[in-house]
Every structure is written in structure tokens, then in C-alpha cells.
């Protein structure tokens, strides 16, 4: 149960090269389950490795419970082996020359824990993670999911107050992912450790984290609960990055007006938002409602008209590709629309599902 504070952290790999991380500040509270989410190359793994001590920041300070473990201005750097954090590597980094048991007990042996206590801890952790029966095998003899459990066990054996995970679920198949997710949630609930993990996979982020920090090009874009991130994206990047099917974006300052833009203006007027400083609007496909309406109904909810281009079943939901006089627009229907290509359909959106962005691509509060 420790808090982590990042203060103006910077990381650059030499003069002339753009900084990998620029001026990153973040507060990670006690027992928080935080996810660093972003596309590959956004600096999230570098940030994690700087917390672990495997990378040296070139600027700023990192504090644990208010005490600096890294401070570039003061010349403080605590080596990783003295930080007492747990880290699970993306490819697990199990030692191939040691058995599972030797892998798990290595850290305890280093700390000269008495044999009986050490054995008890190792047994407990391995049993909990269901790998006790593999104790005398070597890592190469285990499957990916089992290897990951070993990596977790090796980390948990030391009972660290801060746990760092690098893409914890990315190498697992769908079924194992669900199991592992439950496992991690349980560990978090039981031990109350502060957990920071890194992923580029929004499903992983949404399902595990209590707080998500979205990063792009070395900068923090938004910190919030999974619902915040999804429902109230702070800017266009977050809106476009999060969401299984990309969000529909309509540019307001397009040179020529189009029927789609016309519909959006009608919609804004309908919601009393005509004067808002809007440069673009985003509408998630799953927020688009579809149906055939009478004229007065259509006017009531400011519906637009579109031709159906294609209906793609994805198992349980249907992606409906719409054509609004030349502009493509996507919707997701949770019930089979039973429509054929070429048919005309109405679509509309409710006010809370409309995301508006200004010239700087920042969210416009409604």
C-alpha cells in the first residue's frame, strides 16, 4: 500500500532527438489499480520501467509515499534491486535454467528468509496460482498461461506493496485472459497493493483498471475511471483511441457543406448548442439509433436520413454502414435490423452521446 508520485518526469535519448516522455506528472494513490493505456511507442512502457528503476529519467522526480526514489535535480537514483517492487515482464522473463520452484523462491533466498518460512510462502503462492504441480519443471515445459502464473508467483512471493505489470494479458488466448483478469482482480482485492500496468489493449484496460491514464507521444492525455474515459473523452485522441469500432468524426469547418454536416447543425440547434465553439463532433457507432420514423417523429429527435450500404453481422451485434449522400457513417445495432443494402433508414443520437471538440481538439463541455 504505497502511493507513487511522478513529478515532471522527462526522458530523452540524446540531444536533437524528440523527448520520449515530456514533463509527465501523475499521482497514483494507495491501492489504486492504474492502467497506462496508449498506442505502441507512446512512452507507457518507458514510464513503467522508470518507476521500476530499469530506465533513468532525464528530468523530474519519482516519489514513493512522499519519499523520492529518483530525483534528477538532486542526483538521487535508487537501483531497482533496492526498490522492493514487483514487476511482471511482458514475455515473463522466467529464468530458463531454474525450475519453477527455484524461480519463485529466488527472491526469498536472496533475502535470507529461513527455509521453513520460505517454503511455506512459496507453497502458498504456487498453490494459489495453481502451479504447485509444476514445481520441478522448467519454464520451457509450460504453456504460455502457466508461464505467466509462474511470473506472477515469483513476483507475489515477495509480497511487494507496488506491483508493475507489462501487458499482462496480451500473450494469452481469450479464455485465459478472463481467468487471469479474475486472478489479478483478486490479488488486488486481497493484498490491496498499488498496481500499475501498461497496455495498448483497451479491453484489458477497461476490464482491469480502476483508473486509466491515456498517453500519446510521451504525454498524458487524460486520467479517469474507465467510464470517464469512454463517456467523457477529454480530447479527440482519447475519443478516437478508445472504442472497439472507431468513433464517427464529423469536421465542422469543412470547406463545402454536406447533408451530414447539415444534419449535425440541425442536431446542435435542436439541443440548443448552436453557439458552442465546435470544430468537430464525434459520435460512437454504438450510440447511433436506427429506425424508420414518421416525419413528425423524425423532426422531434432531429433524425437524419441515410441509405444502408452494408450490414455486417459480428455475432450478437451488427455493424451497419450508412451512406449520407456521399459521407460514410457507421452504426452498431444490438438487434438484427433486417434491412438490405439500398434501403433508406433514419438515424439519430441523444444529447449525452454527442462529443464536441474545439479548435485545439479539446472537449467542449455541454
Amino acid at each position: 500500500m504505497s502511493s507513487i508520485t511522478l513529478e515532471n518526469i522527462g526522458k530523452s535519448y540524446g540531444r536533437g532527438i524528440p523527448a520520449a516522455i515530456g514533463n509527465l506528472s501523475m499521482e497514483i494513490g494507495k491501492s489504486e489499480f492504474l492502467c497506462l493505456l496508449g498506442p505502441s511507442g507512446c512512452g507507457k512502457t518507458t514510464t513503467l520501467r522508470m518507476i521500476a528503476g530499469l530506465e533513468h529519467p532525464t528530468d523530474g522526480r519519482i516519489l514513493i509515499d512522499g519519499k523520492p526514489i529518483v530525483s534528477v535535480p538532486e542526483g538521487i537514483f535508487t537501483v531497482p534491486e533496492k526498490r522492493n517492487m514487483g514487476l511482471v515482464f511482458q514475455n515473463y522473463a522466467l529464468w530458463p535454467h531454474m525450475t519453477i520452484r527455484q524461480n519463485v523462491e529466488f527472491g526469498l533466498k536472496l533475502r535470507k528468509i529461513a527455509t521453513a518460512e520460505c517454503d511455506a510462502t512459496v507453497d502458498r503462492v504456487m498453490t494459489k496460482l495453481g502451479i504447485a504441480k509444476y514445481a520441478n519443471r522448467y519454464p520451457a515445459q509450460l504453456s504460455g498461461g502457466q508461464q505467466q502464473r509462474v511470473a506472477l508467483a515469483r513476483m507475489l512471493a515477495l509480497n511487494p506493496s507496488i506491483i508493475l505489470l507489462d501487458e499482462p494479458l496480451s500473450n494469452l488466448d481469450a479464455k485465459l485472459r478472463l481467468e487471469m483478469r479474475a486472478e489479478l482482480k483478486r490479488i488486488h482485492a486481497e493484498a490491496g497493493s498499488t498496481i500499475v500496468f501498461v497496455t495498448h489493449d483497451q479491453w484489458e484496460a477497461m476490464t482491469l483498471a480502476t483508473t486509466i491514464a491515456v498517453m500519446s507521444e510521451g504525454e498524458l492525455q487524460q486520467v479517469g475511471t474507465p467510464d470517464d474515459i469512454y463517456e467523457r473523452p477529454a480530447n479527440r485522441f482519447v475519443a478516437e483511441f478508445v472504442g472497439s469500432l472507431p468513433i464517427n468524426i464529423i469536421e465542422m469547418n469543412a470547406e463545402q457543406s454536406s447533408p451530414l454536416l447539415g444534419w449535425l447543425n440541425t442536431l446542435l440547434a435542436h439541443f440548443g448548442l448552436s453557439g458552442a465553439p465546435v470544430a468537430s463532433a464525434g459520435i460512437r457507432p454504438e450510440a447511433v439509433r436506427l429506425g424508420s420514423l414518421a416525419d413528425d417523429q423524425a423532426a422531434q429527435c432531429a433524425a437524419g436520413r441515410a441509405a444502408i450500404v452494408d450490414v455486417v453481422p459480428t455475432g450478437g451485434s451488427w455493424i451497419v454502414e450508412l451512406d449520407v449522400d456521399g459521407s460514410r457513417f457507421f452504426a452498431i445495432a444490438t438487434e438484427n435490423p433486417h434491412r438490405a443494402a439500398g434501403e433508406i433508414i433514419h438515424f439519430w443520437v441523444e444529447r449525452q452521446h454527442l462529443h464536441l471538440f474545439d479548435q485545439e481538439k479539446k472537449r467542449v463541455a455541454l
Binding site: H56, M85, A93, W95, R111, M155
Partner: protein, 588 residues
């Protein structure tokens, strides 16, 4: 860049850099400097003070009345022999490479080991076998088999350019077999099929598709053979020197043994320059080759050509090649050691005297080789000196690998990588000359080393560093940072990580990084021949000494023992490790 004071990696790298500057860079630089500074013996002749810059040696070696014998003739001979060796090696090796990689030849597995045997043994073994079979009265001594049979081989056949080129060709043909065969193996037959489907005739396919893609591998094999021939001392020494036929390596040896430090520095320098140029060409071409491979490697398909009715003639031909390149020479050598008169198959001519006899009627070596103290001393020297050097090279190679991959300071890792690679550019005999320049006198912190075993150990160690460090670098690259970082996370300090994680994981790599240099070291002659003295003889130099004294049977017996050790060693390495001979070919 911030350097973590608790992490000794940088310290280790700097230490290694200092060691290799001292053991590799300094000798080579000194050698080159020796070529252009006045030596004590030549103060009067050059009319310049000691140690001053001079072109006296360059002029003497290149443009004086003796330069013809000292430099130009040996240079021409070296060129002729290398060219002939390359051509013959290709004529023999390319078809074998194709047979082994792309056909259904019977006994392919056996042939792919048997046909590489010549490379596993010292090259001059076959020179001794040649003498045993074909020498004539020009050099005297025991009769050859041919003479015993009643033929007298003419001089041009018994000595000089022809046999030297032939033996070097057969010894280095495995380069062609391996490099060309591997290139063919990686060559996607779909590329040929694509050309055929567009209507290309087989000749067009061969000329426009296969040859251009094979060219890098072929030129690479050629430059490698050239570089090896350049530094090969033993074959020319056995077959050329007795009839006054010199190559650069033997001319350098003579210059060293007659204490012409300046001239030998010039000769060694020339060998270094030519060797460097050929290796640079090779590296350029290998880069090209890698570019090609990436294009063709996706889903490569290799089709086997059925030999059909050619199966039997091909097998016979391949076996004949094995017989000529390894079987007959080795059998001849072995039989000679149990015959009083070579080649005479009368029952009373056979004897075990040369192995275990006593009170033989000779001036020296009055007993069989197995009862001779010098032999066992040389064997022991070989084992401990080469063993120590190979172990040192293997361990240092791994540490170099670690430092190169982990060093936080770029110029240190680049420097380490390049300095440890340097001996690769310096043919053995020139490297030995460099070691003489360096360690004939005291060089703090070491005292004068000439005449001690340590000059041999250090020279062999340094000479094996290119292979050892490359093996170390590649295995450290493969290992990656993760296992060590995982150790850091659970609290293991640097020394603990080295002891419990890095070294145990690299144990296999370490074993082959020690064994391969060991095998290469025990059969090496060029490097040690000028550094060994009777007290520090190795098996190779002891055999050459016996050749000099004219004790053919004894020399052959020593060489056979050496072959057994080298061959067994190679087989053991292939069995134990994933490494095989083709990995070793990249190194010396």
C-alpha cells in the same frame, strides 16, 4: 548519460578495453611501427639514429637487389597459389555443395561429415602425406612410396606450386561446400519456378536467377580462402622451402628467424594490409547477401533433384573425392609410421619401432615416439597452453559480449567489438610477428615473454578472440535484458545476477566458445611456429621440428596423434553443442 555507480558494467568494459588494447592493438601497432623506424642492428646501414622514422626497410624490401627474393617472388607465388587453390576448391566444392544440399544423394549425411574432414585437420598434415607419397631424391631422406614402387616423381610434381595449391584447395574446399551449400539450401526454388513459368530456359534460369543470387556466397568463399592461403605457413614450408619455393608467409618466417626485424615488419605489414582488404571485401559482400536473403526467405521451398541413373556414378565420384582429400593421405601417413621403408609391403618391413621401439640406430630420437619425453611434453603443452588460452578466450569472449551489449557508453562497446575483431584481419604468422615485436622485451606490467609458455598462451588467446567475442556478443544479444532485469526486480545485485542468472544461462554458449577455439588452436601452426622454443613446443611445432630433422615416421606419428585429437574434439563439439563447423568457419 547518467551512469549508475553501483553497476560495474562500465568498469568491466573499460577494464576489458584496456586488456585488449594491450594484447591486440598494441602488438599490431608496434609491428607496423617497426616497419618504419630504425632498429639497433641497422643504425650503421641506414645511416640514421636509432628509433627514427625511416623508409630504409620499405626500400630494402620492395626496391632493392634482394627484394626480388625477399618480397616480389614470394608475392607472385602467393598470388598464383591462392588463385589456383580458389579455382580448384570451387571445381571440387561447388558440385559437392550442390549434391549435399539439393539432391537425393545416397549417404548424404555421412558425406556431409566425411567431406569436411580435411578442414578438421591441420592443412600441412596433407603436405606431409604428399611428401610421403611423392617426394624424390632432390630432398633426400627416406624414399617415397612412388620411389619404392619404382617411379620417380618429377620435381614439378613432388614440390612447389602444384602440390601446394592442390593441398590448400582440398583443405579449404569445405568452405565452398558449406557456404555454397548453405546458400543453395536457403535458395527458394519458387524463384526458379517463377522464371520457368515465364518461359525461361534452364540456361537462362541458371545465368540470370541462380548465379546472381549465389554470387555473394561464392565471392565470400573465395575471399575467405584467399585470406587463409595468405597466412598459411605449414604447407609451403613443407613442400616449398626445401626446393627454394617461397611464399609471403615462409619469407616472413625466414626474415624473423634471421633476425631481420625491419624486413619482417614490412612483410607482415603487407600481409596484414592484403588480409584486411580481402576481409573488408568479404564483409561488404556478406551485407549484400543478407539483403538478398530477406527477399527470398518467405516460405522458402527447396526441392530435391532426383539423381536417377546418375546416382551410382555420383556416389562413386563423391567417395573418390573423400579418398583423395582425406582417406588416402591419412592412410598413407598411418601406414608410413609402421614401415621401415615407406611403401614397401613386405611383411618384415612392418614395425612398431617408431611408436614404441627402443635403441633405434639413429643419432637422436633413439626410441619410439610414445617413449619419448619431448612428445609427451609437447602433448601436455598443447593441452594446457591451448586449453588455458581457449578457456581464457571463451570467458573473456562472454564478458566482451556482455560489455558490448550492456555498456552504457557507446564508444566503449564499439571499441571493444572492433579491437577483439582485429586479429581476424591479421593472418597468423603476421600476428606472431606482432607478438614478437611486442613481447620480445619487457612491456610493463609484463616482463619479456619470449621463450616462456605465456607468449604462446597470450598469442593463441588473442588470436581466438574474434570468434570468442562474436560468439559472446551473439549469445548475449539472444539472451536480452529481461532475465537480468527480472533478477534486479527481486533484489539481486550485479555480482549475484552474474553468478546466478547470466553465467548459468550462458553455460552452453560458454562451452562451445571454449571448445571451438581449443580445436582451432591445437591444429594451428602459423601462429605458434615463430613463438615456440624447444622447451615450449606444442604438438604442431614439435612435428615441424621432426620434419626439419628428417624423422619422417616420427613426424607422421605425431601428426596422426594431433589429427586424432582434433577430429575427436570436433565431433565432441558437434555432439554437445548446437555449434558446428560452419559456425567456426566465420572465425579463424
Amino acid at each position: 548519460m547518467r551512469v549508475n555507480s553501483a553497476d560495474p558494467t562500465l568498469l568491466l568494459s573499460l577494464l576489458l578495453l584496456a586488456v585488449f588494447c594491450y594484447l591486440i592493438l598494441a602488438p599490431v601497432v608496434l609491428l607496423l611501427a617497426d616497419a618504419i623506424t630504425v632498429h639497433f642492428a641497422d643504425v650503421a646501414r641506414s645511416k640514421q639514429p636509432l628509433g627514427e622514422f625511416t623508409v630504409y626497410y620499405l626500400r630494402r624490401a620492395l626496391f632493392s637487389p634482394i627484394s626480388r627474393d625477399l618480397f616480389w617472388c614470394p608475392l607472385a607465388n602467393t598470388a598464383i597459389i591462392s588463385a589456383a587453390a580458389i579455382i580448384i576448391a570451387f571445381l571440387v566444392g561447388a558440385p559437392i555443395g550442390w549434391l549435399l544440399s539439393r539432391t537425393d544423394l545416397i549417404g548424404k549425411k555421412w558425406f556431409s561429415t566425411a567431406l569436411l574432414v580435411p578442414y578438421m585437420l591441420p592443412s600441412w598434415t596433407f603436405a606431409l602425406a604428399w611428401l610421403t607419397l611423392f617426394k624424390n631424391r632432390t630432398t633426400g631422406g627416406l624414399p617415397s612410396w612412388m620411389e619404392t614402387f619404382g617411379f620417380t616423381p618429377p620435381d614439378w610434381f613432388a614440390y612447389g606450386a602444384l602440390p601446394i595449391a592442390l593441398i590448400l584447395a582440398l583443405h579449404y574446399a569445405p568452405f565452398v561446400i558449406l557456404l555454397f551449400g548453405n546458400a543453395l539450401k536457403q535458395f527458394d526454388t519458387q524463384l526458379e519456378d517463377a522464371a520457368r513459368s515465364l518461359g525461361a530456359r534452364p540456361t537462362v534460369v541458371a545465368g540470370k536467377i541462380i548465379l546472381p543470387l549465389m554470387l555473394p556466397a561464392l565471392v565470400s568463399a573465395a575471399t575467405l580462402i584467399f585470406a587463409k592461403c595468405l597466412g598459411d605457413f605449414g604447407v609451403a614450408y613443407v613442400l616449398g622451402v626445401p626446393v627454394g619455393f617461397d611464399v609471403l608467409a615462409t619469407s616472413l618466417f625466414r626474415a624473423i628467424s634471421t633476425s631481420q626485424a625491419g624486413a619482417s615488419a614490412v612483410l607482415a605489414g603487407v600481409i596484414v594490409v592484403i588480409g584486411t582488404i580481402s576481409v573488408i571485401i568479404d564483409m561488404r559482400l556478406l551485407k549484400e547477401a543478407k539483403r538478398f536473403v530477406t527477399i527470398g526467405s518467405k516460405g522458402a521451398m527447396v526441392r530435391q533433384t532426383p539423381l536417377g541413373k546418375w546416382q551410382v556414378p555420383t556416389v562413386v565420384w563423391a567417395f573418390a573425392m573423400f579418398a583423395v582429400s582425406a582417406g588416402i593421405p591419412l592412410i598413407a601417413l598411418a601406414l608410413t609410421t609402421v614401415m621401415r621403408v615407406p611403401g614397401s609391403f613386405n611383411l618384415d618391413n612392418f614395425t612398431l619401432d617408431y611408436w614404441i621401439g627402443t635403441d633405434l640406430g639413429t643419432t637422436a630420437l633413439r626410441q619410439g615416439i610414445l617413449l619419448t619425453g619431448e612428445f609427451w611434453l609437447a602433448l601436455w603443452n598443447t593441452v594446457w597452453m591451448v586449453g588455458l588460452a581457449a578457456t581464457g578466450a571463451g570467458v573473456l569472449g562472454l564478458l566482451v559480449g556482455y560489455s558490448v551489449v550492456r555498456s552504457p557508453v557507446r564508444f566503449v562497446s564499439v571499441g571493444l567489438r572492433q579491437i577483439t575483431f582485429l586479429p581476424y584481419l591479421v593472418p597468423g604468422i603476421a600476428f606472431a610477428a606482432a607478438y614478437l615485436s611486442m613481447f620480445a622485451v619487457a612491456r610493463p606490467p609484463l616482463p619479456a615473454l619470449y621463450g616462456t609458455p605465456f607468449i604462446l598462451v597470450l598469442a593463441i588467446l588473442a588470436d581466438q578472440m574474434p570468434f570468442a567475442s562474436r560468439a559472446g556478443i551473439s549469445s548475449m544479444m539472444q539472451l536480452g535484458r529481461d532475465p537480468e532485469e527480472a533478477g534486479q526486480i527481486v533484489g539481486a545485485g550485479w555480482f549475484r545476477r552474474m553468478r546466478s542468472i547470466v553465467l548459468p544461462i550462458q553455460r552452453g554458449a560458454l562451452v562451445s566458445a571454449i571448445l571451438l577455439p581449443f580445436i582451432s588452436g591445437i591444429k594451428g601452426l602459423s601462429l605458434v611456429v615463430v613463438l615456440a622454443v624447444p622447451g615450449t613446443d606444442l604438438l604442431t611445432t614439435y612435428a615441424i621440428r621432426l620434419v626439419d630433422y628428417g624423422y619422417s615416421q616420427a613426424a607422421n606419428a605425431v601428426v596422426l596423434m594431433l589429427c586424432v585429437v582434433a577430429f575427436t574434439g570436433t565431433m565432441v563439439v558437434q555432439k554437445i553443442g548446437k555449434s558446428n563447423l560452419s559456425d567456426g568457419i566465420g572465425a579463424k
